[in-house]
């Protein structure tokens, strides 16, 4: 189950908010950060790899 870009970006924003709150323990903060770093990578990969595709609807539908 791969997440959409939108879902990943939303999770990433949430991670930044949690780190901003600053009430997570150091261990939690590090593991949150690692999750965030992975999401950043996935977002960048997804945007980098995207290619446009053109399809056409038949008129006899």
């Amino acid at each position: 189950m791969t997440k959409t870009f939108e879902e990943m970006l939303e999770e990433l924003r949430g991670i930044v908010r949690r780190l901003e709150d600053g009430d997570a323990s150091l261990e939690e903060s590090i593991s949150i950060y690692e999750r965030g770093a992975l999401l950043v990578k996935q977002c960048e990969d997804l945007l980098g790899a995207a290619e446009m595709k053109l399809t056409e609807l038949g008129r006899d539908r």
Binding site: F5, S29, G36, L54, E56, L57
Partner: protein
């Protein structure tokens, strides 16, 4: 047309071959006809342009939904200065002028010298009427507008397969945020275009996340199908959000009013349909930097905490306490020493006093009480043993001296 016979073969004797200018001249001669000089023409103004040079360019058209005839017109600056009204597209007018051929472009045009309004044009009136009706149906109401999806996965496009609009849209989308584009092709001008467009909209509705309906720029007649109630109703009925993009910035069609978002051009519609990958990459990079900063901040806070704890258990603290105690000890010792010193001094003083008292006593005081001192030479005789009969002595008394001679000496044996 018959192309056989001697005239169709340029090699045949007698075949006439014209130069372009000869044909052009011939056309000029033909059009130099009294029936085309100084005439009044009734028509509807379209493609009106008030050029910066001061010359006015427009067309006069005639016909129902689709113009059946069109004449290009020009009104030179000197004549345009005489205009008593501002010509607008769709306005019915009477134009007075002469037909001329502009040979360099091979086109003819009506050189208009006078222009009079003859009531609003029929097609514009029709659009105005449709607009009122559709508005009354509530199809243009702002409450109907829906937000566009931020990240569409599939973008639907209703336009001509061969038009510039499709190419513009594809180029913008591939540059900004490549997604799947689904084309629902439709003829966008000509007879029946409105029905075709409406059908293409219905066909793609629900299959994509957002729909762009439109076409590139054109004349009022070219854009006319996008005013048609069939198209407007199809747009309004869509479950999928619709972006309308008809013509250029200045053009509007009724379909714009029914869409969730009117865009000035097909390219602009594509820009509104998808986010920009560059912005998204920038945002993601911003999150990365922010996360890094926050984590190092968090680590620094933890380090501070450790430092604080270390400081609180540090030997220096103990040392300070020892120093405190020592200080107190020294103070006490000092007090003690001073107390002892004071006592010694006190006793020393008492002793001195006693001594002074002793010293103060007069050794001759005993003489007052009746004793005398026996001296011999410079010595004080203390013992009878030091005296012998016949010794001369001096008796020192309270108030004088006496010479005496010792007659007899006896000893107290036990002394």
């Amino acid at each position: 047309m018959m192309l056989s016979g001697p005239a169709a073969d340029p090699d045949q004797p007698g075949a006439l071959i014209f130069g372009v200018s000869e044909v052009s001249t011939l056309i000029c001669d033909l059009l130099d006809d009294a029936r085309l000089q100084e005439i009044w023409v009734r028509g509807e103004v379209t493609n009106y342009k008030n050029h910066s040079s001061g010359h006015h360019y427009f067309s006069l058209s005639e016909g129902g939904e689709r113009s059946s005839a069109l004449i290009n017109c020009v009104m030179w600056r000197s004549c345009a200065a005489e205009l008593r009204f501002a010509p607008r597209n769709g306005m019915g007018v009477l134009a007075f002028g002469t037909l001329e051929v502009y040979e360099p472009h091979g086109r003819y045009q009506l050189i208009v010298r006078r222009l009079l309004p003859a009531g609003a044009g029929e097609r514009h009136l029709m659009v105005e009427r449709w607009k009122r009706e559709l508005d009354a149906e509530g199809l243009f109401s702002p409450e109907r507008k829906r937000p566009l999806p931020a990240f569409p996965r599939r973008v639907g496009v209703v336009t001509s397969r061969t038009g510039a609009a499709l190419q513009d849209i594809l180029s913008v989308i591939s540059r900004r945020y490549p997604v799947e584009v689904v084309l629902s092709p439709a003829a966008v001008q000509g007879e029946g275009a409105h029905a075709d467009i409406a059908e293409a909209i219905r066909r793609i509705d629900g299959l994509v996340d957002v729909i762009i309906v439109g076409r590139g720029g054109g004349s009022f007649e070219d854009l006319f199908p996008f005013n048609h109630p069939d198209v407007v109703r199809a747009v309004a009925a869509c479950r999928t959000p619709v972006i309308s993009a008809v013509g250029h910035e200045v053009d509007t069609a009724l379909c714009d009013f029914a869409a969730d978002l009117p865009a000035p051009t097909p390219s602009a519609a594509a820009e509104r349909a998808v986010p920009d990958r560059v912005d998204l990459l920038r945002e993601v990079a911003g999150h990365r930097e922010r996360m890094r900063a926050l984590l190092s901040h968090r680590i620094a806070a933890a380090e501070n905490e450790v430092d604080d704890l270390r400081a609180r258990m540090h030997p220096r603290r103990l040392e300070r306490r020892v120093h405190e105690r020592m200080q107190r000890l020294v103070e006490h010792a000092d007090l003690l020493r001073r107390a002892a010193l004071a006592r010694v001094q006190r006793e020393r003083a008492a002793l001195a006093e006693a001594r002074a008292e002793l010293l103060g006593r007069d050794p001759l005081a005993a003489l007052d009480r009746g004793y005398c001192i026996v001296g011999s030479g410079r010595r004080v005789m203390r013992s009878a043993r030091d005296l012998h009969p016949g010794d001369r002595v001096m008796l020192l008394m309270k108030d004088g001296r006496c010479r005496a001679v010792i007659e007899e000496v006896t000893y107290d044996e036990d002394v």
